[in-house]
């Protein structure tokens, strides 16, 4: 296999790479030409990619004709942009991230036929390429050793904090000399979010001058599919019992613990209320201070401080803080934000 072939296969596996962005230009293909029936297999594949991701599946690729694979990714993005369905964009980037994750795992694994000692001396080409992608595209240095992978503590922490399972806490990891020891699967799992973000930003930023006429039918089909899959939801207008409880406590002038106030603030702000609308709610609190309240609300809303908008705590968290007063209407929800949302058809 020559270098060009290797490059094509790498791009087919990881179509979000920077170089794929220039693929059309480099191959002198125009969007209009892509609409030509010669490229039908690529368009069909693109549609399949979207369909699979919308249904929560990971699209299985065929790397024998890498060109079609690469083009189908690019066309899929054009179709998604043409359809403008944010949920499908999100599902697509997540499914594609998981697909890339699978390839990274395959590329990085030690092949069985050689002894480990030999591998330490000489890594395979695909291992080198995968390590390069992690390093250059995601600023993630991974060291391969015997039967484990090592990443720097700071690099680990930046990524692992997005996971809530206890086993991802640093204290539950083998840590030595500034490195965290991981399995292959764990190493690749760490960057799923970044893969997802990379693909999602590709969807947002790709410049598309005009969409070929032949794509229109696919776009119509995608929109129809969206109508079927994504039934719209309506909000009943009622507050969930935990929020009601918090408001009642405050109305009585009783003390609501910090976690309860945080619940009220995040819930109401996320429902679209402004800091000025929410602030008076805390007026009856025994330790009310207008300036402090506003400062904290602004912080929670993300309009001051680090700019992070805080999310409403989950039902599980509220249960552990004894702030949950669930009623049968709460069945099936995992966050108070979902309360009162009913499928239209129910």
């Amino acid at each position: 296999m020559d270098d060009d072939d290797t490059m094509q296969i790498t791009m087919a596996k990881y179509p979000f790479l920077t170089q794929t962005g220039n693929y059309l230009r480099d191959t002198h293909l125009t969007l209009e030409e892509l609409g030509n029936s010669d490229w039908k297999p690529a368009i069909e594949k693109a549609y399949r990619r979207i369909l699979d991701s919308a249904n929560g599946k990971i699209y299985s690729s065929n790397l024998e004709i890498p060109e079609i694979e690469i083009l189908s990714f690019i066309i899929a993005i054009i179709l998604l942009r043409g359809s403008s369905i944010p949920t499908f964009n999100r599902r697509f980037s997540l499914a594609e991230a998981r697909r890339a994750q699978n390839y990274l795992e395959k590329d990085l694994e030690w092949k069985r036929e050689r002894s480990i000692i030999e591998h330490v001396k000489k890594r395979t080409k695909s291992q080198e390429l995968a390590l390069d992608i992690l390093r250059n595209e995601f600023n993630f240095q991974v060291v391969m050793e015997d039967d484990f992978f090592k990443v720097r503590v700071a690099d680990y922490l930046k990524r692992a904090i997005h996971f809530h399972e206890k086993e991802w806490k640093l204290v539950n990891r083998r840590v030595e000399n500034g490195f965290v020891f991981l399995s292959l699967h764990e190493t690749v799992r760490l960057i799923r979010k970044e893969l997802d973000e990379r693909i999602s930003s590709r969807i947002k930023t790709m410049t598309i001058e005009s969409i070929p006429q032949t794509f229109q039918q696919y776009i119509t089909d995608i929109k129809k599919l969206a109508d079927k899959i994504l039934e719209s939801v309506v909000f009943s207008g009622e507050y969930p019992p935990c929020v009601k409880h918090g408001i009642e406590v405050l109305e009585k002038g009783e003390n609501l613990p910090h976690s309860g106030r945080f619940l009220l603030a995040t819930y109401l702000l996320s429902k679209g209320q402004t800091v000025d609308q929410v602030a008076p709610l805390f007026k009856n609190a025994p330790d009310y201070n207008e300036r402090t309240t506003k400062y904290q609300l602004e912080h929670i809303s993300g309009s001051s401080g680090s700019g992070t908008k805080y999310q409403c705590p989950s039902c599980e968290k509220l249960r552990s803080e004894s702030l949950c007063f669930a009623t049968p209407d709460c069945d099936g929800i995992i966050n108070p934000m979902q309360f009162g949302k009913r499928r239209k058809n129910n």
Partner: protein
Amino acid sequence: MNEKNILLIESAFKEYYFNRFDLIHVPRKSTEREFGYQKFNSGMIRHLVVKNDKELHLLLMKEIPSDVYCSNAYYSYPNLSMSEKDWKGADLIFDIDAKDLALPCRKDHTILKCSSCNNSLIEFQSQCSKCGSTKFETVSVICKTCISESKKEVTKLVDILTSDLNIKKEEIKVYFSGNEGFHIRITNNDYEPLGSQERADLVDYIMFNGAIPESFGIRRQNNSKTSLPTLDEKGWRGRIAHRLFSSKSKTPKVTKEILSNGYSAFQVQLEEVRKTMGVRIDPKVTMDIHRIFRLEGSINSKSGLSKIQCDNLDSFDPFSAACLLGDDTVQIIADCPLQIRLKNKKFGPYKNEVVSLPKYVAVYMLCKGLGNTI
């Protein structure tokens, strides 16, 4: 604090700041840091930029602050409001405070001060013997045990920082906080960009919070001795192995016990390890990436002692090394029911009496609220 006391303390602080320029420097990257200070009986003034030692010395002489602080963070615009500063990174900092160690000696060096008549007591009483008030404040004074126990925590911390986290000894600076503990500052590029959440997980690692038996080879069922930590491992697995097995010869017997005792018993053992081997740092300090932290070389107004670097932790005696105020004699009314030892000299106990004391002791008592100027 009353104005006369402030005058005496401020004159002692001013003398120190004037004479000991050699001890007070701006930290590296000073132009990117936020400075702040407080004066007695007034609020915090912050969002300041102090470019160099000269500007710092000028500020100290002009304002005679009770306390001076400097951010661990670096910003593009340190003098703008919090949201406009543009955070760039922050030194990793740690605070080890004897009051958080819950030591049995605390009661022996804590003085109760009646909130209404200022009467000082050492024995717990539900009512003030003088005025009958039931409200008390507590004041803790010098204790060698507190310092030596805090030093042990510092040593544990430095061990984790160097061997687990690969931070070099020369990147770690240990300071006496100026009151009852130690501050540790790390300058290491790898850890500088970490946000608050990442630092929180690092804190849990250092304190050994949230460890689960599975990480040390014990599952709810089907356990085997091969997944247990061994004595030659490093990090927490190695520490746990040393704690559990103590030696190679005892390993088979202890392994058998661990496997037969099961999951919950191991959980209890991990909790024991957390209490004894986890480093007792103040999590809030390390997690805070916008904190202004006491400036090294400055005086701590809780005691009149200075925050100074400890080059040799084992032999470091804060009650003489950090006691840097003048020793000319001043008269105060001291009400200090416990004996104080500063600069290797004993003072007190005093029962509301006029005494002539070296300035450093007088200021210590005034700062602690255990005396008044005449």
